[in-house]
């Protein structure tokens, strides 16, 4: 075999080094494309929608007249749906996570549950909507209500809560559990008094990220029949007369902010697009704020706990 001359090798090395340097720039540019998109998105929404953000935008119902329309019914709907979602997904998700991490025996059934959770995370959200339409709306006769919507989104974010719970619990060292057992604590006492409090930071992060995803979900709620035009509020949950608390609102028809936005953006009149931008801006601020809180929690708990 002919030996390559030193100058050829030198050239090839220099060339490769140049490529290496060039790639550092390309890589940085690629990440900037992502960030630039985020900035363009926010800027676009702000330019179009900021003029619409006035007090009456939050206190008016949707209307035929773009300038008078508001998001009152949809932000109330979003909050009520989130209450149902959180109160379903959080206990079930944490329960499932604790079971899988602390209690589950290593057998085929546990393996099935684990594979299943991994697969659920990859199911398109609209398929959850179809399932909820067939099951909640018609089979269980919950109707096209806040209850159906809240449960649908709860199923959707359940894998997120379970995975976050498991990761948080796994980070608690075995020595903590053994110390509790050594003092005669039962398994549940150990879990509820020691393991869960230590892992609360991680669990909370997962719950917030899950809820921030649920707030922005549109497709499954359209599928179960959320209305795009609602000019009334659900029955109030707190009453003046006995028994003071009412759950009538669970059965109420509803709209949520992303659906209101979708309705406005799919109208041909440009005036309504401004309303859509304003709604999008409110949504973005909410989801970004929730994610910022989650990042802060993750950062703080990682820093504070030193085993």
């Amino acid at each position: 075999m002919e030996k390559p001359s030193p100058s050829v090798i030198e050239n090839s090395v220099a060339c490769n080094k140049n490529w290496d340097k060039l790639f550092a720039v390309i890589g940085l540019l690629s990440t900037f494309i992502g960030m630039l998109t985020l900035a363009a998105l926010l800027g676009d929404l702000a330019i179009d929608g900021l003029a619409r953000i006035k007090p009456h935008f939050f206190t008016s119902f949707p209307s035929r007249f773009p300038a008078q329309a508001g998001i009152l019914s949809s932000w109330v709907g979003t909050i009520l749906v989130m209450i149902v979602t959180a109160s379903t997904a959080v206990p079930i998700g944490i329960g499932a996570g604790v079971y899988l991490e602390e209690y589950a025996p290593k057998n085929w059934f546990t393996a099935i549950i684990e594979i299943n959770i991994a697969n659920l995370a990859g199911v398109p959200s609209i398929v959850y909507g179809l399932m909820a339409l067939g099951l909640f709306v018609y089979q269980f006769r919950f109707g096209q209500s806040i209850l159906s919507a809240g449960l649908t989104l709860a199923l959707l974010i359940l894998p997120i809560v379970i995975v976050a719970t498991r990761e948080a619990i796994r980070a608690v060292p075995a020595s903590m559990r053994e110390a509790a057992y050594a003092l005669g604590a039962t398994k549940w006492q150990t879990t509820s008094d020691h393991v869960l409090p230590y892992s609360m930071g991680g669990i909370l992060t997962g719950v917030i990220i899950g809820l921030s995803r649920a707030i922005g979900e549109t497709a499954p709620l359209i599928t179960i029949g959320a209305l795009t035009f609602i000019a009334f509020l659900p029955d109030p949950p707190i009453k003046a007369e006995f028994p003071f608390i009412s759950f009538e609102w669970l059965w109420s028809p509803f709209s949520v902010m992303p659906i209101q936005m979708f309705n406005w953006v799919s109208r041909p009149q440009a005036e309504f697009h401004l309303n859509a931008a304003a709604t999008g801006l409110v949504l973005m601020v909410m989801t970004l704020a929730m994610n910022a809180i989650a990042i802060y929690f993750r950062y703080r708990f990682r820093k504070r706990i030193k085993w």
Binding site: W19, G27, M35, P91, Y99, L158, I209, P258, H273
Partner: protein
């Protein structure tokens, strides 16, 4: 302190414990009940899958009692809401595939480059700052991305491609692509990070640059993880709904031209759901058949990805 002062009345302590947590027997029962409750929570996640599969199959079964499977797969028109309905899923499938392929053409190169950059080039501080910001991209509500595609990206593209219609698959696909970049990049990065250090060091010791190491050593070694990232990205693109419903139009259109508008499977489901269809009608059942097709499509690609991974898996 003398020893006598620490003397403990064991009887009293025992009674205190009993008062706090019940007798041993009742404590055991309580433990059992709590464990069973949490077991039910875990089983509930399996029930979701069973529910999804059951609803899709049950309603599709009724659909296929009215529409032949051959027509469903071979007819070239999807006009369920018309007077003489035709039930050919092909136009919806091509719409879904075209937008997904465009999305992947954007997301895979961009996501892989970012993954290599973050795992091999960026230092810890840069990574800690860039990663969370990048992941915000996947936290943005999809309907907002739809707005962005229709009213920002499409007008922008129209400046270059002057005959681009207002609804088109190109801008929807590009926006979905950017949306799924964080999924592709963070999973690929994890996979590259997981490659043992000595393999990386071996490559450096031979005089390879970081780029050569990344492309010729790490990527093949992390192939399995990177392939899962790609498959997940594809699943996301196929299942994406709001961007296409807003920006790609709702007209079923059998075409592979990204410059045209076309409904996807998901956009069709949204379109039908927005109307008020009677429960039990063929059109109502058709959205479940469409959903089943969507699941079948993702399943095929997931199995393909699995086989590919098995073929090229590297074990250390």
């Amino acid at each position: 302190m003398s020893k006598t002062e620490v003397a403990v009345d064991y009887q009293q302590v025992r009674e205190q414990i009993r008062a706090q947590s019940g007798s041993v027997a009742s404590r055991k029962i309580r433990e059992r009940i709590i464990e069973f409750g949490m077991f039910l929570c875990a089983v509930f996640s399996v029930a979701i899958t069973v529910g999804i599969v059951w609803v899709l199959l049950y309603e599709s079964w009724h659909f296929f009692a009215n529409v032949s499977l051959v027509e469903f797969l071979t007819d070239t028109q999807w006009t369920v809401l018309f007077e003489n309905p035709r039930y050919g899923i092909m136009p919806l499938v091509t719409g879904t595939l075209v937008t997904s392929v465009i999305a992947l053409l954007v997301a895979l190169p961009l996501g892989t480059t970012i993954a290599i950059y973050l795992s091999e080039y960026a230092n810890a501080t840069v990574r800690e700052i860039l990663k969370p910001i990048l992941e915000l991209l996947s936290a943005v509500p999809t309907v907002v991305f739809g707005y962005f595609a229709l009213l920002f990206v499409t007008p922008l593209l129209q400046r270059v491609l002057t005959d681009l219609p207002g609804f088109n698959m190109l801008s929807a696909g590009i926006v979905i692509g950017i949306m799924i970049v964080p999924y592709v990049s963070s999973l690929s990065e994890d996979a590259m990070k997981a490659v043992p250090v000595h393999i990386r060091e071996g490559s450096y010791a031979m005089g390879a640059t970081r780029l050569q190491t990344a492309l010729r050593v790490l990527m093949p070694a992390a192939f399995s993880g990177i392939a899962s990232a790609y498959v997940l990205g594809f699943s996301r693109a196929v299942g994406e709904t709001m961007v296409v419903a807003v920006a790609a139009g709702t007209q079923p259109n059998l075409t592979l031209n990204p410059m045209e508008g076309a409904a996807t499977i998901t956009a069709y489901i949204v379109q039908v759901s927005l109307g008020d269809l009677p429960h039990g009608s063929v059109a109502y059942q058709s959205i479940f058949a469409a959903g089943l097709t969507l699941m079948a499509l993702t399943l095929v690609f997931n199995i393909g990805g699995y086989l590919l991974r098995k073929r090229f898996r590297e074990i250390y």
